[in-house]
Assembly symmetry: none
Homo-oligomer: 405 residues x 2
Amino acid sequence: MRGEILSVGTELLLGQITNTNARYLAERLAAAGVFVYHQVTVGDNRERLRAAYQLALSRADVIVATGGLGPTYDDLTKEVLAEVLGQPLVQDDLALKTLEDLFGAKGLAFGDVQRKQAMRPAGAELLPNPRGTAPGVLWQAGEHWVVLLPGPPHEMRAMFEASVFPRLRAASGEHLVSTSLRVVGIGEGALQERLEDLMALENPTVAPYAKLAEVELRVSARAESDAAAEALIGPVALEVRRRLGYHVYGEGATQLHDACGEALHARGLTVATAESVTGGLVAERLTRTPGASAYVRGACVVYALQEKERQLDVDPRKVGDGVSGELALDMARSVRARLAADVGIATCGFAGPEGREVGLAYVAIAGALGEKSRELHAHGDRQEIRERIAQAALTLLWERLRRKE
Amino acid sequence: MRGEILSVGTELLLGQITNTNARYLAERLAAAGVFVYHQVTVGDNRERLRAAYQLALSRADVIVATGGLGPTYDDLTKEVLAEVLGQPLVQDDLALKTLEDLFGAKGLAFGDVQRKQAMRPAGAELLPNPRGTAPGVLWQAGEHWVVLLPGPPHEMRAMFEASVFPRLRAASGEHLVSTSLRVVGIGEGALQERLEDLMALENPTVAPYAKLAEVELRVSARAESDAAAEALIGPVALEVRRRLGYHVYGEGATQLHDACGEALHARGLTVATAESVTGGLVAERLTRTPGASAYVRGACVVYALQEKERQLDVDPRKVGDGVSGELALDMARSVRARLAADVGIATCGFAGPEGREVGLAYVAIAGALGEKSRELHAHGDRQEIRERIAQAALTLLWERLRRKE
C-alpha cells in the first residue's frame, strides 16, 4: 500500500513548530506495511488543502492527515475532505452524546462550536480521542483510506495506535516488526566492530542510531505475520545480546533510569542522589519510572557551594578545591548515609556556558555496590552537558548493578 | 514571492529522522519575505523528484530543496534539476579547483566521484559550502529561483545564511519580524476575550499557541524593512502587556524558570525546593538558567514517605493524611529554613499511572514572598502530569515575585 502524509497547519509553514507528527507517522506507517512516498504540508487554507487531497488521492492508497481538527480550526480538514469526497457532513449522534457527556463532566459549556466536532462526512466514521475532545475521521472505500487525526502529538499518537494502526496492518498483510536494543557504555566504533557481520544482514536488518550518550540498535524484519517477523528477529537479537553483554540495558521504550530502577527493585536496594551540576536531573529521571517510591529514597540538590558542606557534611577542603572525583565520592557517601539509602549517587562539574573547563564533570557511586568515581568531558550546550552528566551517573549505577550480580 | 520547500531523503520518508531543516527554512524564508505555501518530502527517487520539481515550478517562485547532494547521493537533486530545466550539466572550473585544494589539504583522495560535485546545470551557479564539501546550487531566471542545499543541518544553515537569505530578502523587499510573548496563569478562553480585537488585526497579527501549561502569543508584522516591521509590532506588544500585566513573563526564548531566576536575582532572593511528586524537576528547571547558583540554594527531593519527616521535619500526622495543601506548605516552610533560603517552594501529589486521584497535586510557597498553597488537577501521562505540576509551582513563584513588586 502506498501512503501519503498530509500535515495541515499554517504554524508549520511559518516554521513555528517542527513537524514531529510526520516523522512519527512515517515510522509507524512503515511498520504497518504502508510505504510512504510523499509527505506534504499545507496551511489552514481551503483551496490548497483541497488540491493536496486531490493529488494525494491520485497517487496514494492511504492518506493520513494531521491538524486542522477541533473548534479553533473550524474543523477545516474534515469539511474540505467532505467536499472532495462529494459527501455531505452529517451529525454523528453517538459522538455528540459522548462529547456532551465529556464537557458536562468537566463543567464546560457545550455550544454550536463544540457540536461541529460531532459532524462527519457521510460514509466515514469518527474515531474516539482518548486524550482530548476532537474526534478523528476514517473514510475507506475500496483500496483508498483517508484518516484525519488531531494535531497535538499526544492526541494524534494515542488515536493512531488505538484506531488506525491495527486496521492498516491487517489490510496491508505486510508486517514490519522492529526491536530496539538500548546500549550504553560502548563507543559506536567498538559497536560496529563487534557487530559488523550482523549489520550486513538484509532481513532482519541491524542498524545503530546514536542517541544522547547511548545507542539504539534496531533489529527489523519483514514477513507475512508478526510471528514470522519475530522468528527472524529473535536469534539475531539474542546474538547481539551475547556479544554486548550488560551494555544492552533494555529493549523498546525502556530508558536507562527504568532499567536501573528495575534492577534496584529486584535486588531490594534503595538509592539516593546528591547533585550539584545536574540540579536534580538524576533524581528526576529515576522518579519518572512508575513505582519509583519503592527504591528512590530522595535527593539532595546542593547547588550553592556552601550547601555541599551544610547538607552533606562534605569536607570543606574538598569543596574548596573545586570539582573532583574525591568530592563526588564524598557527596555520594554522605547522601547515602544521610538518607539511609543502600546506594548513593553523586554528580559535580561545570555546565557553562561561562567559565573554564566547561563540560568537565565527575560522577560517583558509594555504598552497597562499592565505591567508584569517573571523570567525563561532556560536550554540547549547557542543557546537553547536564543531560550527558546525568546519563553518565545512571550508566555508572547500571554497570555496578550488573557487575555485582 | 511564493515559496516551496522540497526535502529529499528516504530516511525522512521512513521516519528515521525528524525534518528540522523544513522548520528552519520555513521560518527563515518567511523572514526573507517568501511566503511558503507548500512543503514536500520525497525519497531519493528520480521519477518522484522530477514530478516534485515540476509541480513546485508550476506554483512557486522560490523553491528551496535540501538533501540528495554530495557523493553518496550521486548528486541526485542536481542531476534531476538539470533534466527538469533542460540544461546540460557543465563543469565549474573554479569549484573544481576549490574542491581539489580542499581534499588535498585534508590528504584525501580526489577522484571521479568527488569531481561530480563541481558540476552544475548550465546557467546555474554553485554555492560554497562553509561547513562541508558538497557545494549548493542556485538557479535564477526571471521570477523563478531554485536553490539546492546539502542535507546536514549545520551545512544547510551556514550556506543558506551566507549565500541565499540576503539575496532573497533583497529580491522580495519584504521583511517579516515576529516577537513571542510568553504567558502563564490565564486560560486560553480568558486570553481570547481580553485580546479579541488585537487578534483580529491583520498587520501586525496576534496569534496564540498553546504550550504545556502556558501560551505563546506571537506578534508578527510585515514591512519593507526590519525597523518598519518593529515599529508596527511595538505598540501592539505593549498593549498586550498592558492588558495581561504580570501574566506575560517574558519574550522570545525565555522560559518561565529563566524569568523566575531573573526576578529572584534582581531582588536578591534565594530559593530552595522540596519536591515529592516532581522528583527534582522544579530544581532541575531552575538550574537550567546560566548563573542559577547565585539564587538557587538547593533542593530536597523527598520521594519516600518517611523522608518527608526525616529530611524536612514535617509533622508526621500531616504526612499520614496523604497529600494536601497543608503538607505542601509545611514542606516549603521546612526546606526554606533547612537550606537557609529566602523562599521555599514545594510540590506533592499523585502522578500515577496507578492509584486513586491521579493528577491531584498541591504546590506551595513560603518565606519572603508570603505563604500560599494551590491545588491543581493535572492531566496527561505520568511525565506530563509531573511537568504540569512543576510548571504550576514556577507559576506560583512567578506570581508572588511580581505581586510583591
